[in-house]
């Protein structure tokens, strides 16, 4: 990595992501649950999530980062809003047009982030 900004202050260390929050689900943890089926292919979406560079800001597991981009799964916002934001973001996220990411690919990516597991509860190190 190549930045040594403030280690404490979110605003200063944020380079890309804080304004993206409008496009995703609230950053409150989801309770453990099975996720509703998405019409896309989650396995294909996992590969696309990497190849399209989504992981760069949101992490390989779509877990998000307060420095770059918020958590996307396991309960993303509705697909229509998700797609709209990806195409025409209003915050710091770069735009992904249909020329770059097809609607079909976006559906698979949505399936992938929807399929993320809710975290375990009562992790001893987080007590």
């Amino acid at each position: 990595m190549n930045d040594m900004k403030s280690i404490v202050f979110g605003l200063r260390s944020t380079v890309f992501g804080l304004l993206i929050v409008a496009a995703v689900s609230a950053q409150t943890p989801a309770p453990p649950q099975s996720n509703a089926a998405s019409p896309g292919n989650a396995e294909a979406g996992k590969k696309l999530f990497v190849s399209y560079g989504c992981y760069q800001c949101h992490g390989y597991e779509a877990q998000g980062s307060n420095a770059t981009g918020p958590r996307l799964g396991p309960r993303p916002i509705a697909f229509a809003a998700f797609s709209r934001y990806v195409r025409q973001p209003t915050g710091q996220m770069p735009p992904y047009t249909a020329k770059v990411v097809s609607d079909a690919d976006l559906t698979n990516i949505y399936a992938f982030v929807s399929s993320r597991l809710a975290p375990a509860v009562n992790i001893p190190l987080l007590k």
Binding site: L11, Q63, V100
Partner: protein, 645 residues
């Protein structure tokens, strides 16, 4: 000093010139060709075979008991430097020898570095852990060129580094070849834009005065690096009788930091006390442990939220008034914002959208009052643009924040009515609840991707915390962006537990700054810990050899995301903006194919090392093993392959 050896460099050279003339008289054609212009013609004579001769009365003086470098060491010792970090160089061979022999390699002790950038960054980290400067020795030319970026980082971070640079001023006395390449008319020119003061003394008394002045200037807020260029002749030549009679070391009195004007302090207090939603934002506010205490006192007197921008350890992370995690909303709601040593007040209250068209907007409500206390208003330079955008503030105190806080606390207390005190108490309760909620949110977020591979930065942070939290630990550096997990999840209390960043965002600071801070912490018995970026590691990895060589205990856990990740995202941004997709964003930005074996590099430099670790369940045991090594007094590194952020 021995009288009979009292001969200065110029006298010595007169002797040499006589010898040269004698050689010429021996009929050497080569000698004749090399003779300096103006050499008096001599009578031709028959060649004479070489032979040993009795030097007679005109003996060439070959040694001295008292070179100028010894006096320089006397001066430096009065400044009480513990260490002097250096990559060795011939332009300062004189003072180098004086330090290790005449000075007995103690106060300062010579720290061997493999790169001048490492030496300066070590001094940078050392200061922030110890509170006093470390000296650095380097060539005035190539050494300064190597040192320049690290000096810039220290300048931006307002850290005093005391740089001594060798040079050879007298062109007629230089050895042919390298000494010319390593000499310069104005050694300080290259860095003068980002140091506070420099001088090139031409005598030892001059050196003594300038040495004191440099220290005083460096240590007066805003603190910054200083540079003394020391001539090789001044270091190496014997001290003449005449000069000896003039030698003295001036008394040093470090200036007291400037305190804010009393009227401005009273106005700031009035605004803060009457505010409904005040916010205190601190960046490089706490210079000393007292700074933390003063800030706690102010925040508690007002029951006002504190947002730390992390330039220094300003405020305990678990204090209920620490609202760093809620900063954005607090700033949006604020009616008064007090900025303490902010580098970027404008950026604190504004945001820029990095789009095809760059736009900015204010984050605060119209009418929000901004109060600034910063010593930076006393010393702003023009060329390098680290001063950020111009902030439109309502009260601007050109003063040191820490020195001003006690007066501000008293003014606030005087201005607080019983009604306001009741309102403060209610606000404090709300903030305590918000603080607890933020901590719970952070813990909940940390649970996501807990078992992922690459390992999540939250998992790595908490595996490390579990091993160090009961020690006297210090997070001496954190190179890279880790989603602020340490500040969100660890309990920072003491002044040495967080040292802030590089200042200038010049990559390559993390490893040497960590080693320098760990060197400071060693005598205090503190456990020094660093989170080490992969890109940062690769700039000048020789510093790990320095850590091993000098037995500097340091636990380094790598945040190895196998990329210059910030740059990956920048290139991605450009590719998206140009509508070309991001499939090539890795070109020139990632550090893979092959993956770097950081553990092997560290081992080759004499450092205990493990990894690469990709399974999160292996991390805790690895940290335990590393900790055992560190507790024995040695550095240890763990290469952890991590999520990007």
């Amino acid at each position: 000093m021995s009288e009979k050896h009292s001969v200065d460099r110029r006298d010595f050279l007169k002797t040499a010139a006589v010898t040269g003339a004698a050689a010429l008289s021996a009929g050497s054609a080569a000698a004749a060709a090399q003779a300096p212009q103006g050499t008096p013609p001599t009578q031709a004579s028959a060649p004479v075979a070489p032979r040993e001769v009795d030097p007679g009365g005109n003996v060439e003086v070959l040694t001295t008991d008292r070179p100028g470098g010894d006096f320089m060491v006397d001066v430096i010792k009065t400044l009480n430097f513990e260490f002097i970090a250096s990559n060795p160089g011939s332009s300062f061979r004189g003072i180098h020898e004086s330090i290790i022999n005449y000075g007995n390699n103690s106060k300062p002790e010579f720290i061997t570095c493999c790169h001048e950038e490492s030496a300066v960054a070590m001094a940078h980290g050392y200061f922030k852990a110890e509170g006093r400067p470390m000296a650095v020795l380097c060539h005035g030319t190539v050494g300064m060129q190597h040192a320049a970026m690290a000096i810039y980082n220290a300048y931006c971070d307002r850290v005093p580094v005391y740089v001594l640079a060798g040079n050879s001023l007298d062109a007629t006395l230089r050895r042919p070849g390298v000494e010319w390449a390593h000499s310069v008319q104005d050694a300080a020119a290259m860095v003068r834009d980002f140091i506070k003061w420099d001088d090139q003394p031409i005598s030892l008394p001059h050196f003594a005065e300038s040495a004191m002045r440099a220290y005083k200037i460096a240590m007066t807020p805003p603190m910054m690096p200083v540079l003394l260029v020391i001539d090789g002749g001044l270091q190496e030549d014997p001290i003449s009788h005449e000069v000896s009679s003039r030698l003295r070391i001036p008394r040093l009195t470090v200036a007291t930091p400037p305190q804010g004007d009393s009227g401005a302090v009273a106005e700031a207090a009035r605004l803060l006390v009457n505010a409904q939603n005040p916010v205190i934002v601190a960046d490089r506010a706490a210079r000393t442990p007292a700074g933390i205490t003063h800030l706690i006192t102010l925040a508690e007197a007002l029951q006002a939220p504190v947002v730390s921008q992390g330039g220094r350890m300003n405020f305990p992370s678990r204090h209920p008034l620490n609202q760093t995690s809620n900063s954005r909303q607090l700033i949006a709601d604020a009616d008064v914002i007090l900025g303490l040593e902010l580098t970027d007040f404008w950026g604190t209250v504004s945001t820029v959208r990095d789009g095809l068209t760059r736009t900015s907007r204010s984050l605060v409500k119209p009418g929000t009052k901004l109060i600034s206390i910063t010593a930076l208003d006393l010393a702003t330079k023009g060329n390098y643009q680290d001063f950020q955008r111009y902030p439109e503030v309502d009260v601007a105190m050109a003063a040191d924040a820490e020195a001003t806080l006690p007066a501000l606390v008293e003014a606030c207390k005087r201005a607080t009515s019983p009604d306001r005190r009741s309102a403060f108490e209610a606000r404090g309760k709300r903030l305590a609840t918000a603080h607890a909620s933020a901590l719970e949110r952070a813990r909940a977020e940390a649970a996501y991707a807990w078992d992922a591979s690459p390992i999540s930065t939250a998992r790595m942070t908490m595996e490390l915390w579990a091993q160090i939290k009961n020690e006297d630990w210090a997070l001496v550096a954190e190179s890279g962006i880790m989603s602020d997990w340490t500040s969100r999840l660890w309990s920072f209390e003491k002044h040495y537990q967080s040292l802030g960043g590089s200042g200038g965002a010049g990559v390559g600071y993390g490893a040497p700054a960590a080693v320098g801070a760990a060197l400071a912490n060693k005598k205090h018995g503190r456990l020094s810990v660093t989170i080490q970026g992969d890109g940062d590691f690769l700039y000048a990895p020789g510093v790990w050899w320095t850590a091993a060589h000098h037995r500097i205990p340091l636990l380094a856990v790598m945040h190895n995301n196998r990329a210059y990740h910030q740059e990956v995202m920048h290139v991605q941004r450009m590719a998206n903006r140009h509508n070309r997709g991001i499939t090539r964003a890795h070109i020139g930005t990632t550090i893979d194919d092959p993956n770097v074996d950081f553990a092997k590099i560290a081992q080759g430099l004499g450092v205990h090392a493990q990894g690469p670790i990709t399974n999160s369940n292996d991390l805790g045991p690895a940290i335990k093993r590393a900790l055992d090594v560190v507790k024995r007094g040695e550095p240890s590194l763990i290469d952890v392959v991590t999520q990007p952020r």
